[in-house]
């Protein structure tokens, strides 16, 4: 677990940041957390998270923005929905995590590889209307640079197997016919959502 604690002075409760989170699409659910920890014990990737979802929510409420933004918690979420099913407060944690990821991206907190992967996949989906693994990987490695490519070379056996078994088309699928219209719909939705948030 990464020690993300920034200073040793007593934490001063400050709800400015919490209010920012509450204004997100699913952000208000953070208020509902009663800190029982069911999410933490249900999580498939809890052991590699800096903070369990419970602790992450507590950071938000206390106003610890930097610690929150730098934590890997939301990026480690696999969206397996176990916490969402079990939360006694009915918080859709997976959906809250979506907002937290989007917020981190928007504010430029992109150091985790998942951030690059998300951007790559989104670019692929938005740019083509359907996603193509080859395209995602190309975009991902471009974003992450040389180290990630070295890692990828270590996985070439796997790539070869995929190719051999006909599961990795080299040629990307055609863009969908209604791509233009899809993009316009998405953009409209984004602007509507921004208006809603205000």
């Amino acid at each position: 677990m990464v020690d993300n604690k920034i200073s040793s002075a007593p934490i001063k409760y400050d709800n400015t940041f919490a209010k920012e989170i509450y204004s997100l699409e699913n952000g208000h659910y953070v208020k509902m957390c009663m800190q029982c920890g069911m999410c933490a014990v249900s999580c498939a990737t809890r052991q590699i998270m800096d903070y369990s979802p419970r602790r992450l929510f507590n950071l938000i409420r206390a106003g610890k923005k930097e610690e929150f933004m730098r934590s890997n918690t939301m990026w480690m979420c696999t969206t397996c929905c176990m916490c969402k099913v079990r939360c006694p407060r009915g918080i859709p944690l997976v959906d809250v995590m979506h907002d937290l990821k989007a917020l981190a991206l928007k504010q430029g907190y992109v150091e985790y590889p998942q951030a690059a992967f998300y951007q790559a996949m989104w670019a692929e989906a938005f740019g083509r209307g359907r996603v193509f693994e080859g395209g995602i990987m190309a975009r991902f490695y471009l974003k992450r640079g040389w180290n990630e490519i070295k890692k990828a070379l270590g996985m070439k056996d796997l790539g070869m197997e995929m190719l051999k078994h006909g599961r990795m088309p080299i040629v990307p699928p055609r863009k969908i016919k209604g791509l233009k219209s899809l993009q316009q719909i998405i953009q409209r939705a984004q602007s509507l959502q921004e208006k809603e948030a205000k």
């Binding site: 997100l24 498939a44 929905c81 989906a125 996603v131 599961r167 998405i186």
Partner: protein, 293 residues
């Protein structure tokens, strides 16, 4: 019985064998599948994390709008697609404000969705529409003696909990496996996450998660795993070699889509079972049933 079908991006690439087996199996059971024309990516489990739930759900809704005219239930194979399509559809029904706003966005593309359809996971449709009796009756090569771990995964049962199965201890996949004459072994990890899309960004997460699942299947005596989820199949099958290398293990558990197993049990032609797409070879496990290359 007619269905609209939403294949999703995986079924065109990494999960080709899913589509290749689904179509003939459906036909054998009298299910008529009509692909949604010019469907687009649902956003997977990623789009929301970039553009937020609303934009992602509107994106998904384009597919619902395209399918609505036919009025058929939409059959969804992929788990993430099922989650997104299902949740979006539910929101159209439950949340009038959302529906109004979403239709405002769809209108840009000349589309509208009235929330009249049902989104169905394949296992749900097979068990609850076709029925286990009919499936049993269609079996020509009972899979007697085959020990199968039914790996349900997460989103198919948890995205819409209790929609058709228990979100933590699902039973329908096992019932389907048993209907084919095989033995569904007890499998406590049947609904545990495989690590999902971390495969590319941080492979070790998938290796760790999937290893636990493989161990659970093997220790319970399974010689094969079946799943209704493309991501699960990919991670367990394609990454098994890397798991063995990393953890110095020797798992050799082939992982099939449930529809592939059905194609074998229905004794459909080899193209239908699409076994050549399996990375971990299934032939040893299937040899006692007389299935060869």
């Amino acid at each position: 019985m007619r269905y609209s079908v939403y294949p999703g991006c995986s079924l065109e690439a990494t999960a080709l064998s899913y589509m290749k087996s689904l179509e003939p199996v459906a036909e054998a059971l009298g299910m008529h599948l009509e692909e949604i024309p010019d469907w687009n990516c649902c956003g997977a489990s990623v789009a929301s994390g970039v553009v937020g739930d609303f934009a992602q759900q509107v994106m998904t809704a384009r597919n619902l709008a395209l399918a609505e005219e036919k009025g058929l239930d939409i059959l969804v194979a992929c788990s993430s697609c099922y989650m997104n399509m299902g949740l979006t559809n539910k929101r159209f029904k439950d949340d009038a404000h959302f529906a109004k706003l979403a239709n405002e966005a769809l209108a840009v593309g000349g589309l509208k969705y009235n929330g009249t359809l049902r989104v169905r996971q394949i296992v749900d449709a097979l068990v609850n529409d076709i029925g286990l009796d009919k499936i049993k009756a269609r079996v020509k090569r009972p899979l007697t003696g085959l020990k199968v771990a039914g790996y349900v995964g997460c989103q198919t049962v948890r995205a819409l909990p209790w929609e058709y199965d228990d979100p933590e201890r699902p039973v329908l996949l096992d019932q389907l496996v048993e209907a084919l004459g095989a033995t569904a072994v007890p499998f406590p990890m049947k609904a545990r996450c495989c690590g999902s899309s971390h495969a590319i960004a941080q492979t070790e997460i998938v290796l760790d998660c999937s290893r636990e699942i493989l161990e659970s299947a093997r220790s319970n005596g399974a010689s094969m795993m079946v799943t209704p989820c493309p991501m699960c199949q990919l991670n367990i099958d394609a990454y098994q070699g890397m798991i063995n290398k990393t953890y110095n293990t020797n798992y050799a558990i082939p992982t099939l889509f449930i529809t592939q197993l059905m194609a074998i049990a229905f004794d459909l032609p080899p193209e239908a079972s699409a076994l050549k797409y399996c990375i971990v070879s299934p032939y040893e496990a299937l040899a006692p049933l007389g299935v060869g290359k």
